[in-house]
Protein backbone atom coordinates (compact mmCIF):
# COMPACT_ATOMS: atom_id res chain seq x y z
CA UNK A 1 0.00 0.00 0.00
CA UNK A 2 1.04 3.62 -0.48
CA UNK A 3 -0.03 6.98 0.91
CA UNK A 4 1.01 10.60 1.02
CA UNK A 5 1.52 12.40 4.27
CA UNK A 6 3.67 15.03 5.92
CA UNK A 7 6.53 14.10 8.23
CA UNK A 8 8.34 16.90 10.00
CA UNK A 9 7.12 19.43 7.48
CA UNK A 10 8.07 17.44 4.40
CA UNK A 11 5.57 15.88 2.04
CA UNK A 12 6.42 12.20 1.66
CA UNK A 13 5.04 9.09 0.04
CA UNK A 14 5.13 6.04 2.27
CA UNK A 15 5.08 2.39 1.28
CA UNK A 16 3.62 0.20 3.95
CA UNK A 17 1.98 -3.14 4.56
CA UNK A 18 -1.66 -3.51 5.52
CA UNK A 19 -1.91 -3.71 9.28
CA UNK A 20 1.38 -1.86 9.75
CA UNK A 21 1.52 0.62 12.60
CA UNK A 22 3.02 4.06 12.35
CA UNK A 23 6.07 3.44 14.54
CA UNK A 24 7.07 0.53 12.31
CA UNK A 25 6.84 2.68 9.21
CA UNK A 26 8.62 5.63 10.78
CA UNK A 27 11.51 3.51 11.99
CA UNK A 28 11.82 1.84 8.59
CA UNK A 29 12.09 5.30 7.04
CA UNK A 30 14.84 6.28 9.45
CA UNK A 31 13.02 8.11 12.21
CA UNK A 32 14.77 6.08 14.87
CA UNK A 33 13.85 8.39 17.75
CA UNK A 34 10.47 6.64 17.69
CA UNK A 35 10.95 3.67 19.99
CA UNK A 36 9.14 0.39 20.15
CA UNK A 37 8.34 -0.17 23.81
CA UNK A 38 5.50 -2.11 25.33
CA UNK A 39 3.58 -2.59 22.08
CA UNK A 40 0.37 -2.55 24.14
CA UNK A 41 -0.39 1.20 24.22
CA UNK A 42 0.88 1.59 27.77
CA UNK A 43 4.38 3.09 27.93
CA UNK A 44 4.45 6.20 25.70
CA UNK A 45 7.86 5.45 24.20
CA UNK A 46 6.46 5.64 20.68
CA UNK A 47 4.84 9.07 21.17
CA UNK A 48 4.77 11.32 18.12
CA UNK A 49 2.57 14.28 17.30
CA UNK A 50 -0.29 13.72 14.93
CA UNK A 51 -1.63 17.05 13.73
CA UNK A 52 0.13 18.67 16.67
CA UNK A 53 -1.29 16.38 19.35
CA UNK A 54 0.65 13.65 21.13
CA UNK A 55 -0.39 10.21 19.90
CA UNK A 56 0.82 6.66 20.28
CA UNK A 57 2.38 5.53 17.03
CA UNK A 58 2.02 1.92 18.18
CA UNK A 59 -1.75 2.39 18.19
CA UNK A 60 -2.01 4.37 14.97
CA UNK A 61 -2.38 2.44 11.77
CA UNK A 62 -0.09 3.86 9.11
CA UNK A 63 -3.00 3.75 6.68
CA UNK A 64 -4.73 6.38 8.78
CA UNK A 65 -2.10 9.10 8.51
CA UNK A 66 -2.75 9.95 4.86
CA UNK A 67 -3.06 13.70 4.59
CA UNK A 68 -2.10 14.29 8.21
CA UNK A 69 0.93 15.91 9.77
CA UNK A 70 3.36 13.76 11.73
CA UNK A 71 6.02 15.30 13.92
CA UNK A 72 8.87 13.40 15.52
CA UNK A 73 11.55 14.73 17.82
CA UNK A 74 13.90 15.00 14.84
CA UNK A 75 11.96 18.16 13.92
CA UNK A 76 12.06 19.62 17.42
CA UNK A 77 15.78 19.58 18.07
CA UNK A 78 16.03 23.07 19.55
CA UNK A 79 13.10 22.62 21.94
CA UNK A 80 14.27 19.15 22.89
CA UNK A 81 17.79 20.40 23.58
CA UNK A 82 16.48 23.17 25.79
CA UNK A 83 14.40 20.70 27.81
CA UNK A 84 17.31 18.24 27.94
CA UNK A 85 19.44 20.87 29.67
CA UNK A 86 16.90 21.04 32.50
CA UNK A 87 16.88 17.25 32.71
CA UNK A 88 20.66 17.07 32.87
CA UNK A 89 20.81 19.82 35.49
CA UNK A 90 18.47 17.81 37.71
CA UNK A 91 20.22 14.49 37.11
CA UNK A 92 16.94 13.18 35.73
CA UNK A 93 18.32 11.04 32.92
CA UNK A 94 19.42 7.46 33.23
CA UNK A 95 19.26 5.02 30.34
CA UNK A 96 17.46 7.52 28.11
CA UNK A 97 15.41 5.00 26.15
CA UNK A 98 12.13 6.65 27.14
CA UNK A 99 13.44 10.18 26.53
CA UNK A 100 12.23 10.83 22.97
CA UNK A 101 8.64 9.85 23.72
CA UNK A 102 8.77 11.52 27.10
CA UNK A 103 10.13 14.74 25.60
CA UNK A 104 7.46 14.75 22.90
CA UNK A 105 4.79 14.65 25.59
CA UNK A 106 6.46 17.36 27.68
CA UNK A 107 6.73 19.66 24.66
CA UNK A 108 3.07 19.03 23.84
CA UNK A 109 2.13 19.77 27.43
CA UNK A 110 3.97 23.08 27.31
CA UNK A 111 1.89 24.05 24.29
CA UNK A 112 -1.39 22.87 25.78
CA UNK A 113 -1.33 23.77 29.47
CA UNK A 114 -0.81 27.14 31.11
CA UNK A 115 0.90 27.13 34.49
CA UNK A 116 0.11 23.51 35.35
CA UNK A 117 0.53 22.44 38.95
CA UNK A 118 2.25 19.20 39.91
CA UNK A 119 -1.00 17.22 39.78
CA UNK A 120 -1.75 18.47 36.26
CA UNK A 121 1.79 17.61 35.13
CA UNK A 122 1.51 14.13 36.63
CA UNK A 123 -1.83 13.64 34.94
CA UNK A 124 -0.59 14.77 31.53
CA UNK A 125 2.47 12.55 31.73
CA UNK A 126 0.74 9.48 33.17
CA UNK A 127 1.05 7.73 29.82
CA UNK A 128 4.86 7.89 29.80
CA UNK A 129 6.64 5.24 31.80
CA UNK A 130 10.27 5.42 32.91
CA UNK A 131 11.77 2.36 34.49
CA UNK A 132 14.97 4.05 35.71
CA UNK A 133 14.43 7.42 37.19
CA UNK A 134 11.65 7.30 39.76
CA UNK A 135 10.24 10.50 38.22
CA UNK A 136 11.40 12.87 40.98
CA UNK A 137 14.23 14.41 38.98
CA UNK A 138 12.05 14.58 35.91
CA UNK A 139 9.37 16.44 37.85
CA UNK A 140 11.91 18.98 39.13
CA UNK A 141 13.20 19.48 35.57
CA UNK A 142 9.72 19.81 34.09
CA UNK A 143 8.60 22.35 36.67
CA UNK A 144 11.63 24.52 36.01
CA UNK A 145 11.26 24.11 32.25
CA UNK A 146 7.58 25.06 32.46
CA UNK A 147 8.39 27.97 34.75
CA UNK A 148 6.13 26.71 37.53
CA UNK A 149 8.75 25.62 40.04
Amino acid sequence: MQLETTINGRNVTLDFAGGEFLYETLRRYGYLSVKQGCDTSSCGLCTVWLDGKPALSCSTLTARVAGHEITTIEALQDDAREFAEYMVAEGAEQCGFCSPGFTMTVLAMKRELDNPDEAAINHYLAGNLCRCSGYKGQMRAIKKYMGVA
Binding site: S41, L56, T60, G127
Partner: protein, 307 residues
Protein backbone atom coordinates in the same frame (compact mmCIF):
# COMPACT_ATOMS: atom_id res chain seq x y z
CA UNK B 1 7.76 -6.73 2.25
CA UNK B 2 11.10 -8.10 3.40
CA UNK B 3 13.53 -6.64 5.86
CA UNK B 4 16.78 -7.77 7.34
CA UNK B 5 16.95 -8.54 11.02
CA UNK B 6 19.72 -9.56 13.29
CA UNK B 7 19.43 -11.49 16.54
CA UNK B 8 22.38 -12.57 18.64
CA UNK B 9 24.76 -12.20 15.73
CA UNK B 10 22.65 -14.17 13.24
CA UNK B 11 21.16 -12.39 10.24
CA UNK B 12 17.72 -13.18 8.94
CA UNK B 13 15.59 -11.99 6.11
CA UNK B 14 12.09 -11.75 7.42
CA UNK B 15 8.75 -10.86 5.91
CA UNK B 16 7.05 -7.91 7.62
CA UNK B 17 4.33 -10.24 8.80
CA UNK B 18 6.87 -12.67 10.13
CA UNK B 19 9.49 -11.79 12.66
CA UNK B 20 11.91 -13.02 15.22
CA UNK B 21 10.66 -13.85 18.63
CA UNK B 22 12.39 -13.30 21.92
CA UNK B 23 14.16 -16.61 21.65
CA UNK B 24 15.57 -15.68 18.25
CA UNK B 25 13.28 -18.01 16.35
CA UNK B 26 11.77 -16.93 13.07
CA UNK B 27 8.01 -17.15 13.26
CA UNK B 28 5.39 -16.75 10.61
CA UNK B 29 1.80 -15.74 10.86
CA UNK B 30 0.55 -19.08 9.58
CA UNK B 31 1.53 -20.63 12.87
CA UNK B 32 4.93 -22.07 12.13
CA UNK B 33 8.35 -21.35 13.44
CA UNK B 34 11.52 -22.26 11.69
CA UNK B 35 13.14 -23.76 14.73
CA UNK B 36 11.63 -25.69 17.59
CA UNK B 37 7.95 -25.00 18.26
CA UNK B 38 7.95 -21.53 19.70
CA UNK B 39 4.60 -19.82 19.95
CA UNK B 40 3.60 -17.56 17.10
CA UNK B 41 3.35 -13.83 17.86
CA UNK B 42 0.02 -12.08 17.50
CA UNK B 43 -0.10 -10.24 14.22
CA UNK B 44 -2.57 -8.06 12.41
CA UNK B 45 -3.05 -8.11 8.68
CA UNK B 46 -5.32 -5.76 6.77
CA UNK B 47 -5.93 -6.55 3.13
CA UNK B 48 -7.80 -3.36 2.22
CA UNK B 49 -8.01 -0.10 4.10
CA UNK B 50 -11.13 1.75 3.02
CA UNK B 51 -12.09 5.33 3.84
CA UNK B 52 -15.70 5.61 2.70
CA UNK B 53 -17.07 9.05 1.97
CA UNK B 54 -20.63 8.24 3.04
CA UNK B 55 -22.25 6.21 5.80
CA UNK B 56 -24.15 4.25 3.17
CA UNK B 57 -20.89 3.20 1.55
CA UNK B 58 -19.48 2.17 4.92
CA UNK B 59 -22.59 0.17 5.78
CA UNK B 60 -22.71 -1.56 2.40
CA UNK B 61 -19.09 -2.66 2.72
CA UNK B 62 -19.58 -3.85 6.28
CA UNK B 63 -22.62 -5.95 5.48
CA UNK B 64 -21.69 -7.25 2.06
CA UNK B 65 -18.03 -8.20 2.34
CA UNK B 66 -17.17 -11.00 4.77
CA UNK B 67 -14.29 -10.22 7.10
CA UNK B 68 -14.97 -6.48 7.14
CA UNK B 69 -14.46 -4.54 10.33
CA UNK B 70 -15.15 -0.96 11.34
CA UNK B 71 -12.07 0.71 12.81
CA UNK B 72 -12.51 2.66 16.01
CA UNK B 73 -9.51 4.22 17.68
CA UNK B 74 -7.46 1.04 17.16
CA UNK B 75 -6.27 0.95 20.76
CA UNK B 76 -6.81 -2.77 21.01
CA UNK B 77 -6.79 -3.97 17.44
CA UNK B 78 -3.14 -4.91 17.60
CA UNK B 79 -3.74 -7.27 20.49
CA UNK B 80 -5.53 -9.77 18.29
CA UNK B 81 -4.12 -12.21 15.76
CA UNK B 82 -6.40 -11.59 12.84
CA UNK B 83 -6.76 -10.89 9.17
CA UNK B 84 -9.23 -8.20 8.17
CA UNK B 85 -10.34 -8.21 4.56
CA UNK B 86 -11.73 -4.66 4.64
CA UNK B 87 -10.87 -2.24 7.42
CA UNK B 88 -13.49 0.48 7.29
CA UNK B 89 -12.12 3.79 8.48
CA UNK B 90 -14.80 6.34 9.42
CA UNK B 91 -12.32 9.20 9.86
CA UNK B 92 -13.59 11.12 6.82
CA UNK B 93 -17.27 11.04 7.75
CA UNK B 94 -17.33 14.01 10.09
CA UNK B 95 -18.16 11.94 13.16
CA UNK B 96 -15.77 13.75 15.48
CA UNK B 97 -18.04 16.22 17.27
CA UNK B 98 -19.76 17.18 20.49
CA UNK B 99 -23.02 19.04 19.89
CA UNK B 100 -25.41 20.34 22.47
CA UNK B 101 -29.10 21.02 21.97
CA UNK B 102 -31.64 22.18 24.52
CA UNK B 103 -32.50 18.64 25.56
CA UNK B 104 -29.54 16.47 24.54
CA UNK B 105 -25.85 16.20 23.90
CA UNK B 106 -24.72 14.32 20.83
CA UNK B 107 -21.25 12.87 20.62
CA UNK B 108 -20.01 11.58 17.28
CA UNK B 109 -18.71 8.04 17.19
CA UNK B 110 -15.22 9.11 16.10
CA UNK B 111 -14.83 11.63 18.91
CA UNK B 112 -11.71 10.87 20.88
CA UNK B 113 -11.73 10.32 24.61
CA UNK B 114 -9.37 13.28 24.96
CA UNK B 115 -11.92 15.51 23.26
CA UNK B 116 -14.57 14.34 25.72
CA UNK B 117 -12.16 14.95 28.59
CA UNK B 118 -11.40 18.53 27.57
CA UNK B 119 -14.65 19.60 25.90
CA UNK B 120 -16.19 22.58 27.70
CA UNK B 121 -19.76 21.35 27.25
CA UNK B 122 -18.98 17.88 28.63
CA UNK B 123 -17.15 19.45 31.55
CA UNK B 124 -20.06 21.73 32.34
CA UNK B 125 -22.72 19.02 32.42
CA UNK B 126 -23.54 16.20 34.82
CA UNK B 127 -21.08 17.46 37.40
CA UNK B 128 -18.28 16.46 35.01
CA UNK B 129 -19.21 12.79 35.11
CA UNK B 130 -18.25 11.95 31.54
CA UNK B 131 -14.82 13.66 31.49
CA UNK B 132 -14.03 12.12 34.86
CA UNK B 133 -14.80 8.67 33.53
CA UNK B 134 -12.19 8.94 30.77
CA UNK B 135 -9.42 10.96 32.41
CA UNK B 136 -7.53 7.99 33.85
CA UNK B 137 -7.50 5.85 30.75
CA UNK B 138 -3.79 5.27 30.18
CA UNK B 139 -2.38 8.60 28.99
CA UNK B 140 -3.13 11.66 26.91
CA UNK B 141 -1.52 10.02 23.87
CA UNK B 142 -3.87 7.05 23.92
CA UNK B 143 -6.89 9.21 24.65
CA UNK B 144 -6.00 11.25 21.57
CA UNK B 145 -6.30 8.03 19.54
CA UNK B 146 -9.15 5.99 20.95
CA UNK B 147 -12.74 6.90 20.14
CA UNK B 148 -15.95 6.76 22.10
CA UNK B 149 -17.58 4.87 19.23
CA UNK B 150 -14.95 2.14 19.37
CA UNK B 151 -15.45 1.88 23.11
CA UNK B 152 -19.22 1.62 22.82
CA UNK B 153 -19.24 -0.77 19.89
CA UNK B 154 -16.67 -2.97 21.62
CA UNK B 155 -18.91 -3.18 24.72
CA UNK B 156 -15.76 -3.59 26.76
CA UNK B 157 -16.55 -4.90 30.25
CA UNK B 158 -13.58 -3.07 31.79
CA UNK B 159 -14.61 0.28 30.33
CA UNK B 160 -15.00 3.37 32.52
CA UNK B 161 -16.98 5.61 30.12
CA UNK B 162 -19.53 2.88 29.42
CA UNK B 163 -20.38 2.83 33.12
CA UNK B 164 -20.86 6.59 33.03
CA UNK B 165 -22.89 6.53 29.81
CA UNK B 166 -25.23 3.90 31.23
CA UNK B 167 -25.75 6.03 34.32
CA UNK B 168 -26.59 8.94 32.00
CA UNK B 169 -29.17 6.80 30.17
CA UNK B 170 -27.41 7.27 26.83
CA UNK B 171 -28.92 6.17 23.54
CA UNK B 172 -27.06 5.08 20.43
CA UNK B 173 -27.80 6.05 16.86
CA UNK B 174 -26.86 3.42 14.29
CA UNK B 175 -26.97 4.15 10.59
CA UNK B 176 -29.32 1.34 9.60
CA UNK B 177 -30.91 0.17 12.86
CA UNK B 178 -31.71 3.62 14.16
CA UNK B 179 -31.81 4.38 17.87
CA UNK B 180 -31.32 1.91 20.67
CA UNK B 181 -30.71 2.47 24.34
CA UNK B 182 -27.24 1.65 25.61
CA UNK B 183 -28.82 -0.66 28.16
CA UNK B 184 -30.58 -2.65 25.42
CA UNK B 185 -27.43 -2.67 23.29
CA UNK B 186 -25.50 -4.17 26.19
CA UNK B 187 -27.96 -7.00 26.72
CA UNK B 188 -28.48 -7.77 23.03
CA UNK B 189 -26.37 -9.75 20.59
CA UNK B 190 -24.67 -6.72 19.08
CA UNK B 191 -25.36 -5.09 15.73
CA UNK B 192 -23.54 -5.32 12.43
CA UNK B 193 -24.04 -1.67 11.72
CA UNK B 194 -22.29 1.68 11.76
CA UNK B 195 -22.51 3.57 15.05
CA UNK B 196 -23.05 7.22 14.18
CA UNK B 197 -23.41 8.98 17.51
CA UNK B 198 -24.16 8.70 21.19
CA UNK B 199 -27.07 10.76 22.48
CA UNK B 200 -27.18 11.78 26.12
CA UNK B 201 -30.29 13.42 27.57
CA UNK B 202 -29.95 16.69 29.45
CA UNK B 203 -32.30 16.29 32.40
CA UNK B 204 -30.32 18.22 34.93
CA UNK B 205 -28.62 15.05 36.12
CA UNK B 206 -25.94 15.34 38.74
CA UNK B 207 -23.38 12.60 38.33
CA UNK B 208 -20.37 11.10 40.03
CA UNK B 209 -17.82 8.49 39.03
CA UNK B 210 -15.68 6.37 41.28
CA UNK B 211 -13.16 3.62 40.60
CA UNK B 212 -10.46 1.59 42.27
CA UNK B 213 -7.31 0.91 40.27
CA UNK B 214 -4.10 -0.84 41.16
CA UNK B 215 -2.17 1.90 39.38
CA UNK B 216 -3.27 5.27 38.03
CA UNK B 217 -3.33 4.18 34.41
CA UNK B 218 -4.44 0.58 34.90
CA UNK B 219 -7.92 -0.68 34.15
CA UNK B 220 -10.34 -0.35 37.02
CA UNK B 221 -10.67 -3.22 39.45
CA UNK B 222 -14.22 -1.95 39.86
CA UNK B 223 -15.98 1.24 38.81
CA UNK B 224 -19.28 2.85 39.68
CA UNK B 225 -21.29 5.78 38.36
CA UNK B 226 -24.33 7.44 39.85
CA UNK B 227 -26.72 10.04 38.52
CA UNK B 228 -29.47 11.85 40.38
CA UNK B 229 -32.35 13.54 38.60
CA UNK B 230 -34.78 14.97 41.12
CA UNK B 231 -35.64 11.99 43.31
CA UNK B 232 -34.62 9.43 40.69
CA UNK B 233 -31.28 7.67 40.78
CA UNK B 234 -29.37 5.54 38.32
CA UNK B 235 -26.67 3.45 39.91
CA UNK B 236 -24.29 1.52 37.68
CA UNK B 237 -21.42 -0.80 38.51
CA UNK B 238 -18.85 -1.89 35.91
CA UNK B 239 -15.64 -3.87 35.58
CA UNK B 240 -17.11 -6.48 37.92
CA UNK B 241 -15.27 -7.76 35.73
CA UNK B 242 -18.44 -8.24 33.69
CA UNK B 243 -20.04 -5.49 31.64
CA UNK B 244 -21.56 -2.47 33.40
CA UNK B 245 -25.07 -3.01 34.75
CA UNK B 246 -27.75 -0.92 36.39
CA UNK B 247 -28.72 -1.73 39.96
CA UNK B 248 -32.44 -0.88 40.11
CA UNK B 249 -32.85 -2.34 43.61
CA UNK B 250 -30.45 0.23 45.04
CA UNK B 251 -31.98 3.07 42.99
CA UNK B 252 -35.51 2.19 44.15
CA UNK B 253 -34.37 2.07 47.75
CA UNK B 254 -32.96 5.60 47.50
CA UNK B 255 -35.99 6.97 45.70
CA UNK B 256 -38.14 5.69 48.58
CA UNK B 257 -35.86 6.60 51.46
CA UNK B 258 -34.00 9.70 50.33
CA UNK B 259 -30.25 10.22 50.24
CA UNK B 260 -28.09 10.69 53.28
CA UNK B 261 -24.95 9.05 54.61
CA UNK B 262 -26.83 6.10 56.08
CA UNK B 263 -28.99 5.39 53.05
CA UNK B 264 -26.00 5.82 50.73
CA UNK B 265 -24.20 3.06 52.60
CA UNK B 266 -27.32 0.93 52.61
CA UNK B 267 -27.80 1.40 48.87
CA UNK B 268 -24.22 0.29 48.34
CA UNK B 269 -24.86 -2.85 50.38
CA UNK B 270 -28.01 -3.58 48.40
CA UNK B 271 -26.05 -3.25 45.17
CA UNK B 272 -23.25 -5.51 46.36
CA UNK B 273 -25.78 -8.14 47.41
CA UNK B 274 -27.66 -8.07 44.14
CA UNK B 275 -24.72 -8.15 41.70
CA UNK B 276 -22.44 -10.93 40.60
CA UNK B 277 -18.70 -10.36 40.84
CA UNK B 278 -15.92 -12.42 39.35
CA UNK B 279 -12.18 -12.96 39.53
CA UNK B 280 -9.58 -11.74 37.06
CA UNK B 281 -5.89 -10.82 37.40
CA UNK B 282 -6.80 -7.36 38.76
CA UNK B 283 -8.85 -8.57 41.68
CA UNK B 284 -11.01 -11.27 43.14
CA UNK B 285 -14.78 -11.33 43.14
CA UNK B 286 -14.67 -11.24 46.91
CA UNK B 287 -12.60 -8.05 46.89
CA UNK B 288 -14.89 -6.44 44.31
CA UNK B 289 -17.92 -7.29 46.40
CA UNK B 290 -16.27 -5.71 49.42
CA UNK B 291 -15.38 -2.42 47.71
CA UNK B 292 -18.64 -2.08 45.76
CA UNK B 293 -20.61 -0.51 48.65
CA UNK B 294 -17.78 1.92 49.34
CA UNK B 295 -17.60 3.17 45.77
CA UNK B 296 -21.35 3.56 45.50
CA UNK B 297 -21.61 5.35 48.83
CA UNK B 298 -18.80 7.72 47.84
CA UNK B 299 -20.44 8.46 44.49
CA UNK B 300 -23.81 9.01 46.13
CA UNK B 301 -22.42 11.38 48.73
CA UNK B 302 -20.59 13.29 46.01
CA UNK B 303 -23.91 13.70 44.21
CA UNK B 304 -25.59 14.63 47.48
CA UNK B 305 -23.11 17.40 48.20
CA UNK B 306 -23.22 18.68 44.62
CA UNK B 307 -27.02 18.86 44.54
Amino acid sequence: MLFNACHKGNSYTVDRHNGINAAGLIYDRKGGTHKNNAKTFLMLQIENHLSPSTLEEAYETLTSVPGSLVLGGCGYIRLGDRTISNAIDLSNLGLNFVHGTKSEVEIGAMTTLRTIETDALCQSLWHGLLPRSVENIVGVQLRNCVTIGGTVAGRYPFSDPLTALLALDARLQFYHYGEISLEEFFTGQGLKDILVKIIIPKRGQIGAFQSVRRAKTDYAVLNAAVTKTGDDYRIVVGARPGRAVLVPEASDYLSSNGLNETTARKAGNIAAASLQFGDNPRGSGEYRKAICPVLIARALMEVHHAA
